[in-house]
Every structure is written in C-alpha cells, then in structure tokens.
Symmetry: D2
Subunit: 326 residues, 4 copies
C-alpha cells in the first residue's frame, strides 16, 4: 500500500553519497575500479581506497576497506546542513535505533545508525574537496562514470522499508505490486535528488545490498565498458546487459567487482521533482518492468547480493518468483 | 558580486515549466516543432498550439500563441503547492510589482507578474495531465527532446537580475565576471531543480529572451537534428553548433524557429543539489567558457533575441564585447 | 581445411544484393519492415513488396513475395557486367547445376541457379534506379538501416560450402574449426565487397538461411530499434542482443520478422580488401567468437532458420553443439 | 569533363596505405598522435616514428620523419601483388615519370615515382605484420581511429589530376563542377577500396596535401576528440568541426598536428563497389556540398596545406572562391 508523503521530513537528506564496501584485495579492486571503470583515485591508505567519479567535487564517492569479507559496511548519505545531523541523531534515537557520531576520513561529523531492517547507514554534511574531473577529459578512462546515482537493496519486507524511508522524506517514483499477493508492494523506487531513485528495495532475502549504480552519459560508454572488460580478463564480471528496464527507462549494464559486489552502469532516466508526480505502478506479472526488450536475466541477478555485517538475513514475506531468469 | 543564499525563499518554485511565445503562423510553427523537432501536439485551438516533450506528463511544455509579433508573452514556472501561489502574490505585491491571477488553458490557478527588470512571469501549481510518451518510442520523431531544461535571457543589469532571482531561492551554479569592469557580474546561471540552470542571464540589450532549451539524451539526437533540418528546408534555422560550452559542460545546438525564437538543444550537464556547492567562476576573457572547442559563434547569437511585449529594452551597464564572433 | 584463393574467379560477383522471401501476409510484413525498421517502399504489387535501404540507389534490397510458406526463394547477387551473366551460366552448367535466365521485376537479365548444396541463387547486373535516401533525412524511420550487408546460412557441410564459394572468388576472412572433430571447418565468413562477409556458413541442419543482415551506422540505432519494437508490440520479435560477436567485431541485434525470417542489424566491422589478409582462426571451444561479452544466446538462435523451397534439409556432418545457449 | 572508366588499369592498386610526413619534433608528434589521438606506436627510430591505427595489421599507417620542414614526403599505396610493382614501374616510365625502387623500413620492395602534377608517390605490396588492436580494447585511447581512409589534395588542374588517376583505375564517386567556368571540374573524389574515396582533389594552389583522414566508428569519438584536445592544450589544433559534408555524407572534424599537417577524423560514408555507380554531381554554387548544416569553415581550411618537397606550387587554372568562409 502506498501513501502520499506531504509531511515535512525530520531532517533533510540531499542525496546518496557513497557505499563503504569490504574488499579482500585492494590491489585487485583498484585495478577494476580505477584502471578499467575509470574511477579517480583520491587517496590510498594501508587499509582503504578512496575513489571518486568524474563530476565528483569531494574526496570520495566510493570507499573500499580492506576486510576479510566482502560486506557492505555502510550506505552513506549527504544531508543539507550540519544541524540536520543533530536532528537525525535525535530522530533515530526516538525510533530506538542506534545513533552515534563516528570519525570518517575525509568527512566532517558523521552519524552512524541503521534503518528499520538493520541496514547500516551513515550521514554527514561536509566532505573534503577534490578536483572535479568533468572537464579534465584527458583523465577519462574506461566507463567514464560521471556520478553515483543510487543504491538498490533486497528487502524481506518491502512495505516496511517503504514506510521507513518515506518518513525520512524519500518520495516514491515507481513501484511494483504483486496481484497474486493481495497487491502487496513487491518493489519501490524512492528519491531525494530529483531522479528516479536514490534508493530502491526489491522483495528478496535480506536486507542485503543488490547494487550501487553509476550514471554514464551515453550508451557508447556502456558498449565500451563491455568491450573493455571482456577483452581485459573480466568477461565473467559482466553479469547482465546491455538492456533496458521498463522501470525508470534505464539503459543498464550490471557488473560484479572482484569481490562480487554488483555495480550497475546506466544512462537515461527522467526528472521527478514535481511534488504532485504520480508514482508509476507496475504489475509483478508484467515482465517489461525489468526487461523492456524481453531479454532474460541470469539467475544470479535475482539471488546474489552483498550482506551487511552482523545483520541477519531472512526470507521475504511474499513469495512470487521473478520470471525470465535463464 | 555574488553572495551565499541561505535564507528560506518566500515561496517554493519547483522548476521552469514553459515559455509562451508569439507565433505569426501557427501552421509553420507546428511543422517546425511537431514534425521536425518531434514535439507532441497536445491540443490545437484557433489561437494557440499546445506542445509537450517526450517525458512531459502534463498538457504543455511550450505554448505558441497566434500573435502579430514574435514576442515572448511569459516565462512560466511550476510552484510546489497551491499555497505557494498566494505566498508569491503577496511577495510580488510587497515588492511593488504587478501580481494578478489569470486564466490559462490547461492550467489551474495562475499568477501573472514580472521580475525586477520587467520580464513577464507566470506561476501555477497544477496542470491537466497528458500521456507521458517516454516509453512510447513509436511516437519519437526528429530531435527527440525529452524535457524543457531552462530559459536564458539578455539582461542589461546582470547584478540586479541575479539579486532578484537569488531572493526567490534560485541558486548560483556558474558565473562570469568581467575583470575589465571591476569584476562586475557578466553572466549568471541559476537553478531550482538540481541541474546547472533553470534560468540564466547574460549581459546585453534587454531584458529579452535569448533562448529556451530542450534536453536530449544523446549527441546522436543533435547530429540527426542538424541532418534533418538542413535537408528538409531549414538549413538557415541552424544558427550555431554542434559545440561544447565550457559553462555547464553543455553539448549544444542552437536553432531559430520560423519566427526567429531561439531554441537550444543540448545534452550533458551535472548535478547541483548540494547546498554547499561552490559556484564555478569564469573570467570574461576566457573564451572557453562559451566555446570549449574554440569554434566561433555567429554574430547573431550575441545580438538577436526575443522581446517581451511592452517591456523597454536598454543597453547593458557594462560593455565588454564577446570574443570569437565570426 | 582452408586454402589460398589466387585463381581468377570464373565470373565477377560484386556483392550480395537482396533476399527474396516468402511472406504469408504482405501487410504485416510492410508494417514490420517499412513502418518499424524504416525500409523504404519502392513498389507494391498484388503479389510482392519491393523494399530498399537508405543508401540503396536501385529498386530493391529486399523482396517479399506473397507465398503460403515463409521460405527463402533466392539469395540474389549483383555481378560486375552483363557478360558475367553468360560466363556464370556456362560455369554453372559445367558443374552440372541448373542455370536458366528468368524475368525479375525491376531487374535486367537474371540467371537462376543454385550452389553445390542446392541453395537457390540468382545473379543480375542491372537494376532499375530509385532515389537514394541517404541525405533525405526526413524519410529516416526506425532502425535507419543503410544497406544490406550479408547472408548467413546453416550448412550441413561447411567444408563443401566453403570450397564451392571460394571457387567463385569469395575470400575467407574469419573461420571456426572444431578441434574435437579433427579441425574440421565449423563456420566460414566469405567476402567479395571488402567487409567481413557477403555470405557466411555455420555448421547445422541445412541448407537453410540463418539470417540476412542490415548495416546501421551506430549503436544508437540498435538501441532505438529495441525500444521501438518492444513498445510497439514486437517484443517477441527481438530474439537476441544487443551484443558483440568476437567474429567480425560486429555489434549485433537479431530480430524475427512476422514470418519468422531472421534479420540481423549490426554496426562496426573492418576492411578486408588486402589480398594478403590472413584469415582469422577461432576455436570452436572459444565462446568469445560468438559472444564477446559472454551473454548466452537463446536456443532458437542455434536451431531456427528459413528453409529453401524444395531443398532437402539434412543434419550436419560434424556434431559439436554450440555452448552458452540459455 | 568526366568519362566512364572501363579500361583495365595498368596495375592494381588496392588502397591508400599511409602518408610519410616531415615532423620537426618527433616527441611533440608522438604526444599528439599516440597519446591524444590514440595511434599505436609500432616503432621509434632516431629519425622516424612508425604509427598504426586500431585495425591495422601491419607495421604502419602513418610515418613521421624527423625533418627540418613539415613536408609530405610521399603518399603511399598498397598494390595487389608483387608483380604489380613491376607493371607500375614500366607504366610510369612509359609516361616519362621517374620510377625507382627504394628501401623502406618495414616494407617490402617499394617503387617511388610521382603523378602527373609531381606529387611524390610510393607503391609496395608487402609490409611487416603487427598485432591488430581492434579487439584489444584496453589499448584504445583518445580518438579511437580505426584506419586510414583517404588523402585529399589541392590541385591547380583538377581535370588533369582526374585524368591521371582515372587511368590508374581510380573510380569517380562524387565531383563538383563550376558552372561559372564552363562546367570545369572543380573537385573530384576517387576510390579503389569501395568507399567514397582513396584520394580527392580540390581546385587550389598546388599540388599540396590538404589532409589525410582517419575513419572512426562513431560521432562519440569525434566529440570526445574535441573535448580531449581542447582541454589538454590543443584547442588551437582544432581547425573545423564537427560538421557534415554534403559530399560523401561525411561527419567530419579537422585537426592540425603540431607541424600544421591537417588530419580529418570522420565517420559515415557509403559503399561504392557497383561498377555502374553513377557519380554524384554537385554544383560549385551549392554550399551544402561542403557544409550540409550551413556552418562556415575558417579561411585557413581553404588556404593552408602541406607542400611536397621540391614540387613547385602554382595557382589554379580556374578561380571561383569557396563561399561560407569566416
């Protein structure tokens, strides 16, 4: 069940900022992300790699931490103001959720907490500056990813995820309902920054991160990414695509990094800033929502995800199986 | 001189919505915009043509009115809420500017007023729905323009335009200063919806509309637009481009419609939602700001514009002449 | 086993010209090819539809004949000179193959014959002129196919097909051998006009036509074709793609027309005019030859083809099964 | 005056192979061609730089020689067979033109001679192999030029150039006549390998090389080349473009290398293998032939060229001036 969100949110989230991912071999990660996908290396420390995309003006839009397991340590968000961090802290406490300020390299004050299903979240306002590479075309490499666009997560209870994030002021743009399950919400796309999503949830064993997504300016970049990866020893890292989702009209390519974290490269969505935008409803049975052109996805795409550390994973409440897997 | 804009705006403007332009021959306009640029015709009345772009979900994103002169009748804006119209009305009155509610076909309550230099403005919240064509690819034609992106105006007093629109909550993203004129503001780019601009002002005889701009998904659409227009009898309507502006990183094409109104087709800009985004400063002497690749623009591009009806046009306060005209 | 082809061919074939295909519903065919793929209709007769591509300067590059079965009536070739038709006639007779001059609408003298495996072939030199649409961009529709590029056929005896066509002066550019079958030839790509192929043969039940292929100028055209077909009721007609073949470096999309004839749209190959070009060898086991990016093809792509009328179809001599079907 | 060319040529030229250009600073040339345009360096010697394009399977498709002046030392051609070199030698001698076999690094037997107006030419059959980079996408850089496409020269006597090259078997595809000058030939496009040209001649002070041209697969490569060069310190090296020629339908970009040699990057032409192809006639007055979209070219484009060493340059016989220069 969806609802209209007219209440003022308790604090102001500007946009998704970056994921912090466990990497078992930072060298392999750097080769994948920097050399082949074209991420810019802002800083290497013994224990972490700080990367940013071409239009990024600050220290990182992806953090890889040397860890024994390929977990997702945090989904990180930028808020509008320092004060929003205090508002956020109080709000999470009022929900009986953990909320503590932590130190993060390259960032100002950072609040660590989690969402209603336990996904680890961090919020900050200020980050160290870094040179924007948007017009340093000589530094363009590989996929030419311009910015982080969104996170996508498996949720065992999409209705609950939807309600939590709606209360934070995230607005629904598209959603899938399962008619076979009393019109239960099967997936939701939620945004803060004016595109189709900053975060999405899909019914599945979770909570787990399904993917994070980088926006590229053109389909040529998607094609070149495939060509480059497949002939540079990464053919098995190409999981799905090119294709077009009905949802969001996204032209997509899904990759798996050396640790199995999934990254989507995509171009083309649309503007969602109108407050009276009517969210687009899709039926679960309508296969076009996930593959407009009818191309099946591999089974792994429906099953594989990145766990959050120390967060129990459970089966979803509703059971319809995705179609068109091969 | 620029300033930081931290005050809450007096009312909430969501985005630029559409221009209302005088057209001396609606048939010729329809042939240009609908048949060749691919605008969707929502409605024809004896006196007006209502057009929309591919991702538009409402009645119009461009209105052409049968008029004896090719004027710009209004720059129209969507606000966040019905209440914002009343807040806006009071605010404009407090500034001793005209403010009256008017009837507009396909729109709800509409406030007509003007800015500090006399440019006619209209504000509304609700508009009649229309089918979104984004995934009706069979209806794609010509330039495949996806949405209105921004207005660009000549201002004889850019500092004054900047201050007025800043007070309305428009945030500066890029700007040009003239070192030869005591670092006076020579041009400003201002946004509400999270891109590089909803409106821009450039030093020049005005106030006049320089152009309105449609966003296209790829450079292929720009190339096809040139090919199509030049071989369908519109070669003289191609004024400038393809090229890349340094400002906004916009890949552009400028066209003149049958009445001489200028429309820019462009792709590629960047996200500007961060409240602490530092506006990018350009020197007037740096020709790359307006032509990254060094290609000169025709003189008409610096001189020709669309007048607003009954609005006096004056010479600019500062005088540096653009370079690289041919 | 491959061999070098230095002998002067018995007559001079310039290029593949067009296929003549049986269509059970010419209206449905016209809607698919003309309205959606953007073929130009040169002429409709009660029994046939004559279509051409954008750069075609003559009457047809595809002929659809009203027939009760979706057969391939002929693969048709342009020769260099009227005299070549007589040379060809004598040569086919010398091989004890049928050879008769027939009337074909829009063509000059036409020789009908068949190859060593019975595939029906026709040869002509002159064809009625038609306006070239290459610079009539206003007439561009759908896939924007610029020209016919090649035929691809199942052969039950690739070695025999290869030897026959080599003798006609077709030059090998790439080929697949099956190490599991004594390095038997599993597939060959053969050219006359300077690209990767005018005709190719792949091991399989045959002889049957696997597909004919149209060359498009860019990947944008492939993406738009998918978007257009999938939202205009033809999603089931998209069989495979987008993808990249290792062979020929072709960026491909495979479609099935309303009668099940397969058409490939592709861009990007390379020049093969050097007489000392060394053909590129691929191992059957190397899946990259048919899918550089590792995406599996549907089973139909390996099994379905268009029969030639009254030509017996037999199982191939060698048996390895293609990998990566889903 | 044009004529049909049915005679068998005296020897068989396959295609244009490479230019040998004088470079005053090989380091600067390597930075321009290898680092920024993406040429592959096959070999550096103290006195020369051997470069090749992505699909090139042999030692060089561009040779830069350390020389005090930026001359064009030779336009080099591949012939079909070793015997053709002997046939060529005899034919040039029969025309009282110099013809001598010379040593060229990386090539087999090479004949040096000149055309009727004195342009230095070289012919060879065999060249040392080099790895083809077409599917080594990891090595793609900058402009991603796939192959050499053609040479374009100023000729003071286009009729004479046309007659000489026609006799060598070069076939006319497009041409410009000057009605103001008794329909004199003003420009010709001549081909051997099946595209619009291997060599072209335009009326002007000459003989001089106007440019050599590399074929790129897509307009994205042209846009990226502009972006890259203009932000890497080469903005003055971008002379003209992007634009579309009416002639050849070429989407073009013209660059000047550090020595002032002009290189065109272009995509999109069409197939010309039909022996009965009717050459396309353009009127000199029709500006679309050189700029379909109406964008003027800089004056340098009409006036600047690379001289051949020790070859006198004279004014053209006919005098019409190109239009649309800025």
């Amino acid at each position: 069940m969806i609802r209209s969100t007219t209440n003022k949110p308790p604090f102001d989230v500007v946009r998704c900022s970056h994921a912090v991912l466990g990497a078992t071999d930072l060298g392999a990660s750097e080769q994948f992300y920097a050399q082949h996908l074209g991420y810019v290396v802002t800083e290497r420390t013994p224990d972490a790699l700080y990367l940013r995309n071409l239009e990024c003006r600050t220290h990182h839009s992806l953090v890889l931490q040397r860890l024994p397991e390929p977990t997702c340590e945090a989904l990180v968000w930028k808020v509008a103001n320092e004060d929003d961090l205090d508002l956020a802290s109080r709000w999470f406490q009022s929900k009986n959720l953990p909320a503590a300020f932590v130190e993060r390299h390259g960032q100002g004050r950072t609040l660590r907490t989690c969402d209603a299903l336990g996904m680890p979240l961090e919020f900050y306002f200020s980050m160290t500056s870094a040179p924007c590479k948007l017009q340093q075309y000589d530094d363009y490499r590989g996929a030419r990813i311009q910015r982080l666009d969104h996170f996508n997560c498996f949720s065992p209870d999409v209705q609950k995820s939807y309600e939590f994030w709606s209360e934070l002021g995230f607005r629904l743009t598209e959603y899938t309902v399962s008619e076979e399950s009393n019109n239960a919400l099967w997936a939701v796309w939620l945004q803060r920054k004016g595109g189709v999503h900053d975060i999405a949830f899909t019914n599945g064993r979770g909570p787990r991160l399904h993917h994070f997504a980088g926006w590229v300016p053109s389909v040529s970049d998607l094609v070149h990414s495939c060509d480059l990866l497949s002939t540079a020893g990464y053919v098995k890292n190409i999981e799905r695509g090119l294709g077009r989702h009905g949802i969001g009209n996204a032209l997509f390519l899904y990759l798996l990094d050396p640790d199995g974290h999934r990254i989507e490269l995509f171009c083309s969505d649309y503007l969602t800033v109108d407050p009276d935008l009517v969210p687009k409803r899709w039926e679960f049975r309508d296969a076009r929502r996930q593959t407009l052109w009818g191309m099946p996805a591999p089974r792994s795409w429906f099953e594989h995800g990145t766990p959050f550390p120390n967060v129990g994973v459970v089966d979803p409440l509703i059971k319809p199986q995705p179609v068109l897997a091969h």
